[in-house]
């Protein structure tokens, strides 16, 4: 349990807990961003530089902003600050406890042991590139297709609205 694990873990836990417990939704988003940054630090500690930087680039740079935009567009930013404890806290607690037990059981039965964290090697990024092009080429292509579909879907969603608006104007006349 050395410092390079402890500090990112604390940041991550504090951010995640704050994301659940803060009253103002935008504060929650910012706390979630902190949790993402903690994740990236954990990846750095494990020697996965590339993955940590991509986590920062994608999650902190894009996903957090996306969540913030969504919160603001759906009126969460100006909504009244609600209480943190909901009336059905007992059901939630039981469900979360069951989930925790299940995950804990799964992790304890896995092959990961505590000794694996002592020596950390960082691999050059070119190895990841080689692997993506050769042994993982199919997942890479599927990712490309998925991203293209998502982009086209986004464009279609954005385009459809003005056409509907103009069509409705014609119907009225």
């Amino acid at each position: 349990m050395n410092l390079s694990f402890l500090i990112p873990a604390i940041i991550l836990l504090v951010g995640a807990a704050a994301a659940n417990m803060l009253r103002n939704l935008v504060h929650c988003v910012l706390a979630l961003t902190l949790a993402f940054a903690g994740f990236a630090l954990l990846y750095f500690g494990l020697g996965a530089e590339f993955l940590g930087l991509v986590q920062l680039l994608v999650y902190v740079g894009a996903v957090a902003i996306l969540i913030a935009f969504t919160v603001l567009l759906t009126g969460g930013g100006t909504a009244g600050e609600q209480t943190v404890l909901s009336p059905r806290w007992l059901q939630g607690f039981l469900l979360a406890g069951a989930m925790f037990l299940l995950l804990g059981y799964g992790i304890s039965k896995s092959r990961f042991t505590a000794h694996a964290a002592t020596s950390v090697r960082s691999y050059p990024v070119s190895l990841i590139g080689d692997a993506l092009i050769t042994s993982y080429a199919l997942p890479l292509e599927m990712l490309g297709v998925l991203l293209t579909v998502a982009t086209i879907g986004g464009v279609v969603l954005a385009i459809r609205e003005p056409r509907q608006a103009s069509q409705s104007v014609k119907v009225d006349q």
């Binding site: 504060h27 910012l30 590339f50 991509v54 920062l56 913030a68 935009f69 960082s122 990024v125």
Partner: protein, 392 residues
């Protein structure tokens, strides 16, 4: 070691000597401090020089003198500005979110300074020699958007929020051409390590350097990169989010005094770091432009190129009018993104061909889509006599 090499490596040798004088247990910490403290001192000093350079430069462009009362030729103006920023009252709106309002400039400046860690300012003079330095830089750069959002939202001001949304939309849109044009250089260099990218460009054929900007795809990629860099650092002509005549400073409306100075510092430092990356990726980093000039120290070349790029930024600011939000988004998605993909194709053609054919093919692959897209963009403008419709 010859005197040329001594001059070139003088800071590295100084650092090693100082670290050697300290007891072994303290050496890592002292080493880090000695690397970091000059960066924290030099770049804000460059920022101060840039503010006076910009004001005088803009003044000369606009047929007037810049500030010339404080000190001879106005050299002490940054000092006056600094005193003003420090002694101004720090006003926080009563409705504002105090914690977020406080942390927004802190986060911004912290992230911007962090990006300086991977810049190779001379031979062997990068603070941290990361294997994926370029990715680090862009990851940190995308973190600044969170700081902008924090600043805009915490002020509880409609105009601040609007300015922040516009700024974020602009930054996100221009990140894609930025990264894609950098990818072209990375593709040819074959590595994400910034020092290695520079050493790849440090060769000479005859007296001419191997800089990527002197190749067809490199020139196009360089132009795309600096246009996107201007947009990323919210600088004219892309400064709608912070235009003084538009939205009165956008997301930092509610900041005064030192916090405003921090935003200003963050913006300029961001401009410097992105120019430094452009220099590293395309302009050969710390390499000399001609083979007979290699006796000049490498860090001197780096800073000379940086100052030249800053002057070009100032020149462009004084020349071009501001772009409207829809115009700049149009430009990013409909012109820069296709051009970035075309440049990638051109770089790929360059990689797999030889001799004079590679120049011809690469050039054609860039220039034909450029004229076609450019023609398409220019014909969309309906520049005709304005017709007015009056209410009946």
């Amino acid at each position: 070691m010859s005197s040329i090499q001594l001059a070139d490596q003088i800071f590295v040798l100084l650092k090693h000597w100082l670290v050697g004088r300290v007891p072994v247990s303290l050496q890592p910490v002292v080493g880090i401090l000695i690397t970091v403290i000059p960066i924290i001192c030099v770049f804000p000093a460059l920022f101060a020089i840039t503010t006076i350079l910009e004001r005088k430069g803009l003044g000369r462009i606009q047929n007037r003198y810049g500030p010339n009362r404080t000190g001879p030729f106005g050299i002490l103006q940054p000092l006056a500005d600094g005193v003003k920023a420090l002694t101004k009252e720090d006003i926080v709106p009563a409705n504002a979110d105090k914690v977020v309002h406080f942390f927004a400039p802190v986060v911004l400046v912290m992230l911007v300074f962090l990006a300086y860690a991977v810049l190779p300012m001379g031979r062997n003079m990068a603070a941290v020699d990361l294997d994926c330095g370029v990715l680090f830089f862009f990851a940190i750069g995308s973190g600044t958007e969170v700081a902008v959002f924090m600043a805009g939202w915490s002020s509880r001001n409609k105009y601040a929020l609007l300015g922040a949304m516009r700024a974020i939309a602009q930054m996100i849109s221009y990140e894609i051409p930025l990264i894609l044009s950098a990818v072209a250089a990375i593709m040819i260099a074959g590595t994400l390590n910034l020092q290695q990218i520079v050493t790849q460009q440090a060769g000479y054929s005859g007296i001419f350097p191997h800089w990527y900007v002197f190749t067809p795809w490199g020139f196009a990629a360089f132009l795309l990169f600096i246009i996107s860099a201007t947009a990323e650092s919210n600088r004219s002509p892309f400064d709608l989010p912070e235009g003084e005549s538009e939205i009165i400073a956008g997301y930092y409306i509610e900041y005064s005094g030192f916090k405003f100075a921090l935003f200003f510092l963050g913006e300029y430092l961001g401009m410097f770091s992105i120019s430094a990356i452009a220099i590293t990726l395309f302009l050969g980093g710390w390499a000399a432009p001609f083979s007979f000039l290699t006796w000049v120290p490498s860090w001197l070349w780096f800073f000379a190129k940086l100052v030249t790029m800053i002057l070009c930024f100032i020149w462009v600011r004084g020349t071009l009018p501001r772009l409207r939000q829809d115009q700049l988004m149009n430009f990013a998605w409909k012109f820069m993104l296709p051009m970035a993909l075309v440049v990638l194709t051109s770089a790929a053609c360059w990689r797999y061909t030889e001799g004079w054919q590679r120049w011809a093919i690469s050039f054609l692959v860039v220039i034909i889509p450029y004229s076609w897209l450019g023609h398409g963009m220019m014909s969309n403008r309906k520049l005709e006599q304005r017709k007015y419709r009056f209410a009946e």
